[in-house]
Every structure is written in structure tokens, then in C-alpha cells.
């Protein structure tokens, strides 16, 4: 009981202190309160994960939600620090960020579809304002707003379809015990489509490049590193817990979405001249890889997806930290990045490491993610899906390699020094990407126990506390 109340109380304090910055308008205090409360929430989740704590009442705390609670606390701290680096209206940003953070925690620990959709909205609405505040024009914000409204509509229709079977709309409602019905399958597909919008799956993702490019890079980092991952968490809850009985029908849909998304992201990225847009497409293709685990639909496959989500969060936030820094100096195109290695060797090397990780080279985090995903697909009987994934990895080397060539070419453009917050985020992400690549076992074990929770504890009628 204590842990749920602690998390709830900390979330309330986070939101309250975030909103109070609108009164005092002190950027430093705003950052400090965000970081401190997020760190406390993260520590609580870490404690819950380590002790195998399990609760399913107003909110659910399990191995799955606490692992993601830890991840999101850390990545939200990074996103706050990034926004602090260049923003001159950080107090407003900080208030919105704290609301996003609370929304993330609500989705992560949601026990019913109502809290899930409310959490998704608590993320989406402040994000609209964040995009608008930080970019010069309203266009990307409006695009995001319109598309997210459409997604919410689809999700609400999906919920309505379920209403007939479980008026309580509990996520833990086991569809296995309910009669198989076309209406429920329709609801499941509507929910999948709605979540595909934020998870950037083709063809629900066409807004992504425009918005990622239009928003300032710290917000893009938030969109790619956190919002998208939250959508995957919600997708996991909806498809593997709520609609567990429909997995045989949903898995082929995931397979199709995964293949389309990988090809769409990678082929579009090939010709991009703008680095942000290239990373937007790269991030789409990574969503396709993550979905391989969903298509495999085994405990091992979801474990691989979780590992890849963790790996990609840190890689993409670190990359956008560097992109933000260069963007502030008007450098956005691949050609602008030439000779980065001469003027900023550390940033150049770090960005190269991130891209190698995204391309899936050992011994970096991205390699193990892809390795686990592909081996899971092979052992789940989806050899062709694994081959498509490998083919896509080859395609991706082309555009990452082109940016690396540019980075390590000759020439001496002037650059100004990197602000401390950016350096901190960049190096912290670098350490994570290299460390969990060199010694992946703890993360693999954590991801597997989280995914076993998804498959085991929720689906058994009497949920018992975790062993150990």
C-alpha cells in the first residue's frame, strides 16, 4: 500500500510544484523541483522493482510498470535538463513538462482504460503547447493536435466497443473469459490504430517528420524518447493484457505494421538532407523494429522489445541533445555537420557511437536490442520477419554512414562551446548506451521479468505477489 501512495503523492507534488512555477517563474527552482520529484519517483519504482512488489488497486505496480517507471523518470529528467539548456521561458515549459510527466506515470500504472486514455491526453495536450511554445510557427503544433484528436476518437470508439463486456473498463479484465466476438476484435483494432499514431507506425505516422523537424530538438527528444515509448507501453497493456484472447488475430497485424514501418522509415531516411528529418525517419524505423517483438507475441519477444525501447530511448535523447546544440547554431543539414570531428571531437565521437548503436553494431545497446528481437522472431517461427529486419538494418547503415562521413570530413567551421546541461545529457546517454551494450545481462534479466509479468500475473485470475 505504501508504495502506491508514495508514487501517487509524489506525482501530485510534481504536478503542484510544476504548476507553481507559473507563479514564481524561477527557472532554476523549476528544474530542481522537476528533477528531485522525478528522481524520487524513479527511486520508488526502482525499490518496487527490486523487491518484486505487486499491487493492483487504483493503480497497478508490477515488474512491468516499475521497470518503465524507472526508465521514464530518468528520461524525463534528461528531457527537462535539455529544455533548461536553451529555453528562455523554461518556467512555462517546466509546468507543461511536469504535467506530461504525471501523464506518463498515469499511463504506466493505469489499471483501467479510463485512466489510460486520461493519461494519454495528459501527455498529448501539454505536448501541443510545448511544440507551439518552442517552435516559431504554430504549424507543427496544429498538425499534432489534429492528428492526436483523431487518434483519441478512434481509441474512444474502441473503448465503447468493450463497454458491453466489462462496464468497469478494467485493463486486467480478462478477455479470455469473455466470449469471442467481432465487436471486441473491432475495439482491439481501433485501439491498436489509435496507439499506432503516437507509436509512429505506418500509415498512422505521416505527421512525424513534419512535427519532429518543426519542433525544437528538446521537444523532439521528448516526442521520440518518451511519448512514443509510452504509446508502446499502452499498446502492450491493451494487446497483451486486455485483448490477450485476440493475440492470434492481432499478431499478424503487428507483423504487417512492423514490416511497413521499417521499410517506410528506412527508405525515406535514405534521401533526407536535414539531420532532424533523417533522425525522425530513423526513429520511425526503430519503432518498426520494436514492433517485431509484438508480432512475435512471446514472452521472449516482448522482453526483446522492452530492451530495445530502453536502448532506443537513451540513444535518441542523446542524439537529439547534440542535434539541439548544433541547431542553436543554425546547423541542420548533413553538410552543416561536416568536420564536426575537428571542432568538437567528443560530440562527434558520441554522435557516431549513437548512430552505430542505432544501426545495430556490437557491442552497443542497439546491437543487443536487434539481436534479441531477431532471434526472438526466428525462434517464434517468423524467420522472414527477422530477415526483413536484417535487410532494413543494412539499408540504415547507408544514411548513418553518410552522416558519419560528413562528420569526419575536413574543413573548419566555427562552433561555440557546448552548455553543461547538454554535455551532461549527452555523456549520461553515452554511458548507458555503451554500458548496457557491454554488459547487457542485468537489463535483459529485468526486461524478461517485466515481460513475464505481462504474460503471467495479469492473466491468472488470482494475481499473487511476485516471488522473491
Amino acid at each position: 500500500m505504501i508504495i502506491e501512495y508514495t508514487i501517487g503523492a509524489l506525482a501530485v507534488l510534481l504536478a503542484a510544484s510544476g504548476l507553481s512555477t507559473l507563479l514564481h517563474r524561477n527557472a532554476r527552482i523549476a528544474l530542481a523541483s522537476n528533477v528531485v520529484f522525478l528522481a524520487l519517483i524513479g527511486a520508488t519504482f526502482a525499490y518496487a522493482f527490486a523487491t518484486g512488489y505487486y499491487a493492483s488497486s487504483a493503480i497497478q505496480v508490477s515488474q512491468f510498470s516499475s521497470l518503465f517507471g524507472v526508465l521514464f523518470s530518468i528520461t524525463l529528467i534528461f528531457a527537462s535538463v535539455l529544455s533548461y539548456a536553451y529555453s528562455n521561458r523554461f518556467s512555462a515549459l517546466s509546468a507543461l513538462l511536469s504535467v506530461v510527466a504525471v501523464g506518463v506515470m498515469i499511463v504506466d500504472t493505469s489499471n483501467s482504460l479510463i485512466s489510460l486514455i486520461l493519461g494519454m491526453e495528459a501527455i498529448a495536450v501539454p505536448t501541443v503547447f510545448l511544440i507551439a511554445l518552442e517552435s516559431g510557427s504554430a504549424e507543427p503544433a496544429v498538425k499534432f493536435f489534429v492528428m492526436s484528436a483523431m487518434a483519441v476518437a478512434a481509441f474512444a470508439l474502441g473503448i465503447a466497443a468493450l463497454m458491453a463486456y466489462d462496464p468497469g473498463l478494467s485493463i486486467a479484465f480478462s478477455s479470455i473469459s469473455a466470449p469471442v466476438s467481432g465487436l471486441m476484435l473491432l475495439g482491439a483494432l481501433l485501439a491498436v490504430a489509435a496507439l499506432s499514431f503516437e507509436a509512429s507506425l505506418f500509415p498512422f505516422n505521416l505527421w512525424i517528420p513534419d512535427v519532429y523537424q518543426g519542433a525544437k530538438s528538446n521537444i523532439t527528444a521528448l516526442l521520440a524518447g518518451i511519448n512514443k515509448k509510452v504509446a508502446f507501453v499502452a499498446l502492450a497493456y491493451v494487446s497483451f493484457v486486455l485483448f490477450a484472447a485476440y493475440i492470434p488475430k492481432l499478431a499478424p497485424a503487428f507483423l504487417a505494421l512492423s514490416v511497413l514501418t521499417m521499410f517506410f522509415g528506412n527508405i525515406m531516411a535514405l534521401v533526407q538532407k536535414n539531420v532532424k528529418r533523417m533522425f525522425a525517419y530513423s526513429s520511425i524505423s526503430q519503432a518498426g523494429y520494436i514492433l517485431i517483438g509484438f508480432a512475435t507475441a512471446t514472452q521472449y519477444g516482448i522482453g526483446a522489445s522492452i530492451y530495445q525501447i530502453i536502448a532506443h530511448s537513451f540513444t535518441i535523447i542523446g542524439s537529439f541533445a547534440i542535434i539541439l546544440w548544433l541547431e542553436q547554431q543554425g546547423k541542420q543539414s548533413v553538410d552543416d555537420y561536416s568536420a564536426l570531428s575537428k571542432r568538437a571531437p567528443l560530440a562527434a565521437a558520441t554522435l557516431t557511437v549513437f548512430m552505430l548503436s542505432l544501426a545495430g553494431l556490437p557491442p552497443l545497446a542497439g546491437f543487443y536490442g536487434k539481436f534479441l528481437l531477431f532471434s526472438g522472431a526466428v525462434s517464434g517461427g517468423l524467420l522472414s520477419l527477422a530477415l526483413v529486419g536484417i535487410l532494413n538494418s543494412f539499408i540504415s547503415i547507408y544514411y548513418y554512414g553518410r552522416l558519419m562521413l560528413s562528420i569526419y570530413s575536413n574543413g573548419r567551421p566555427k562552433l561555440i562551446g557546448m552548455p553543461t546541461p547538454i554535455t551532461f545529457v549527452m555523456l549520461a546517454c553515452l554511458v548507458v548506451v555503451v554500458a548496457i551494450g557491454l554488459y547487457p545481462q542485468p537489463v535483459i534479466a529485468a526486461a524478461n521479468s517485466a515481460s513475464s509479468y505481462l504474460f503471467g500475473a495479469f492473466n491468472t485470475p488470482a494475481s499473487s505477489p511476485a516471488p522473491g
Binding site: 505506418f202 498512422f204 517506410f264 527508405i267
Partner: protein, 582 residues
Amino acid sequence: MSLPIPAAILPILPLLLAAAVAMLWRRSMKVGYFSFAMSLVSLALAAAIFTGPATQQSIGWFSIAGFTFQLGFYTLMLNKILLLLVSVVMPFVMLYSTGFIRTPSDQGRYYAEMCVFASSMMLFAVSGSFLTMFIAWEFLGLTSYLLIGFYTNKEAAALAARRSITIIFLGDIAMLAAIVLLFLQYGTLDFNAIMQAPGNAAVPLLLILFAAFTKSAQFPTNEWLPDAMEGPAPVSAFLHSSTMVKAGVFLVMVLMPMYVAAGLQNVILWIGIVTALLAVSNALVERHIKRILAYSTIEDLSLMLIAVGLGNLYAATLLFIVQAFYKAPLLLSSGSIMRMNDEQSDIFKIGNSPRNRTLFIAVLLASLSLASIFPFGSWIEKSLISSSATDAVVGSLLLLISFASSTYIFRWLFVPLSGSRKRAEQEYHALRKSMLVPAITMVLISLAISFYFIYNYLSTRGAGSIFYPGLEEGAVGLMGLAAAYLLFYRKHAVAVPSRAWLLYNRRAFDISYYSIARAFNVLASAADRFDYGLDRGINALGRALIAFERIPALLESGNPSVYMLLFAIGLAILVLAFGGSL
């Protein structure tokens, strides 16, 4: 068990810190002293492990499809010995290096590479599974390559580095193949689990043997080690005589029960004998001061393998320890002598001066240890090896090898004594203390160790078992000394037989290596032509993909109403395609 990391790798951590510091402060002369200090810390930790209990730990590295790859860490007796050996030799080498490496721009690179090397050697020493061992093995090859080619402005150094890495890569491939085969056969990579499992694994064992031979410079991959002497003297003393080259021998010693079970001991024995004969004949006519010692190192390693082949692990281990303490000082002193002779390396063109007593006593005692002269250095080990040779042919070949090694090492000592360079006489006093102290201290340690073992052996087993081979070995050592005196000391130096160059079999190896390389060149150019065609194919594919991109680009118009339309279409397709049973 509260430590998150195995205790066995604790001595590595100070060295990694030193490597990081060296990389950050590249041009500071202080990084040498810091590395020296860290090597002492590492020595203290290694000593604590040496006196501690034997442990076998393994930690999960990563798991794939239910199988967890385990990193094993052992501190059994052999592991402890190698760990302590590396950590004892390292401070001496580091101290010497502070006097030897004086160019500021070299500092960071040198100490970083040395510390990474020592770390990987220690990891190798405590590895308890093929996985851990292979990681360390690869780093050994890499750091050896970097350090041989340390003088980047010398072409010979670059070529020597390339030759060594080529040969070591061959061994790496063999090792990897062996590991895969062992894994397929036993389903584990843990040393003990594999050794206790039943079944014969001759093919992987032969592959491991080949890999060990590439690292330990045994026939037919023996000729890279003399070239490796292009590296700085402390590198030669540390990597290429006392530690890294022993990795192969060590592995064979660890896996000895398997070799015995597979009946491969004779392969080890005879390759050892052939290599030793080739090495000593080269050493007798070589003129390069460090290359002679390199051939001598090859011979030492062969003797260890011969001891393993004869089943005398005790003698092999003894030689394994003591050899480091007389061979390293010889190489360190060679570096000092070359430094005093304008980097001249030909023993006929340099002068060695007895006037610098510290240096001279060190090389004299080390030479006596190398030649099997009672009661110094290698006498007890060589006698023990001879005593287990039951075959008369093997026994006489061993005596021949001992005789030759005594001859070449005193030739190495005597020829420079009759050198004509007088100017060097004064310069010898300018040698830094940091370059003198390590050599003499190590020689004294070698004497202490051998006296202790002789005393220990005689007091526990009596003189009887060792008396006869010991007498022979000692006599042969003295005969070698006499031969060298007659042939090479002062005025007698002209009496060398004119056909002696026939002993120099190195050229045969050079020619055969080059013809193999040429054969591969033919293959490679065929592959190159194939690759060119492939490349054009891939380019065409790339152009096709870029053309393909124009179709989805129509979708990315920037117009939200198109996006919304596609959202709706996508949803409709999703429902129609996958909601078939609605």
C-alpha cells in the same frame, strides 16, 4: 559475495584508471610515475588474491534464447601464479619505462597501451571460461600489435607489427573455431565443466594448440617474435619475453588434462623440440642484440611445451616463473646498452662496458641463469625436464639445445666486450638509475627463486633423482661457456666457421611466408574482381531504392488532410484485413 564484480578482476581496476589518466593527460611526463604507482597498487591486490582462497566465480553476461553466456573467473593455483607474475614484472617495467620513454608526445599513448595490455593479461590470467579467455586473448593481440608498431616513424616497426598481427589473426580464427566446436560439443564454455565432461575433442584441441603456437611463437608461426623486437625495449621485456608470449603455453598448461586424454602430448613435445632447434640455430648466428634474445625466448617457450609434452607440469611451471626474471632483465639491459651506443643494435658494432658494474653484473648473472649453469636460474628446470625424458633421442636433443643456448648467450655477452667503441665507456655512467635498478633487482629475484626451489627440491625429494641429469645439464652449460669463450672472446673472435650462416634458417621462413602471402594475393585479386561486380550491383540497387522513395514522398506532402485521410484508410485496411471474423 557482496561485491558486484568478481574479486579476481580487482587488480585490473587501478590499471584501467592509469590508462584513462594517460589518455587524458597525453603529453605529461607524470603519467609514467602514476602508472608505476598504480601498478604497485595492482601488485598489492594481486598478492592479496594470491594468498587468498582459490575461487571459481561466474557472472551472466547476456542471455540469448534461454542460454546465458557466462563469464568465468578462476583463481586456481595456475591462475594465481600468472596473475602474480604479471603484477610483479609490471612495476619493474614501468619504472624502467620512466627512464626509457622520454619523448613527451609518446607518453600518453605508451602508458595507456601498456596499462591496457597489462589489464588484458591479468584478465587472461584469471579467466575461467573460453568466453572470458577469448576477450582477453583478442586484447593481447591488439595491444601487442600497437606496441610493436610503437615507433610510427620506423618502417621496420610498421612491417613487424603487420606481420605479427597477421599471424596472430590466424590463431584468433583457429581459437574462435575451436570455441564454437567445443560449445557445440559440450554446451558450455566453462573450463572445468568442459574438462570434466566425457568425450574426445581432438579437433578443437588441435585448433587451440595452433592458436597457442601463434601466440607463443612456435613452429611454423615462430618468425614474428624476432621482428617484434622493433618495439621499445620495455615492451620487448614485458610482452615479448615474460608475459604475453606465455599466454599460449599457459592455455596448454591449463587444458593439459584434455591433451593427455586426447593423446596429443607427443604433438606438443615434438613441435617444441623442432622449434627449439630452429630457434637456437638462428640465435647462434644472429647479430641483432635483441633478436638473439627473441630466439632465446622462443626456445624457452619450446622448453615449457616440451615439459608439458613430457607430462612434467611442475618443471613447466617453474620455468614459466623463473624465465621471466632472467629474460626480462636481459632485454631491459639490451635497451640500456643500445641507448648508450646511439641505438646501434649489431653486437659486433657496439661496446658493452664492465665499467658500469650494475649493468654488467645484471647481464652476467642473467646470462649464467639462461645457460644451465649450477646453481643459477634455469639449471634446476632444465635438469627436471631432462629427468623426465625417458627417450634417449629426446634426452640427447635436450642436451644439444642446452649446449647451444649456453653458447649463444655467452656469444651475446662476449662479442660486445671486445667491441671497439671507446666513446661509449664514459656514457655508460649517464644511464639513469630507473633504467638500472629494475634489471638488477629482477635478476636477484630470479636467483632467490631458483635457490629456494633447488633447496626445496633437494630437501623434499633427495638429490638422487636429479643428480644424473643435473650433472649433465651443468656440464653442458659449462661446455657452452667454454665454446663461446674460445670462439668469440677477444682475440679468438676470428675462429668462427665460415659456413655458420647455414644455421640461419630464418630466410627459409621468410621465403615460405611470402610465397603463402603471394598465393593469397592471387585469391584476393580474384575476390577483388568479384567484389567490383558486386559493388556495381549494390549501387544499382541503391539507385533503385532511391527511385522507389518518390512514391512515399507523395504521401509526405506536409498536408495534414492527406495524413488524416491515410489514417482513416489505414484503419479501414487494418479492420478489413485482420478483422476477418467480424
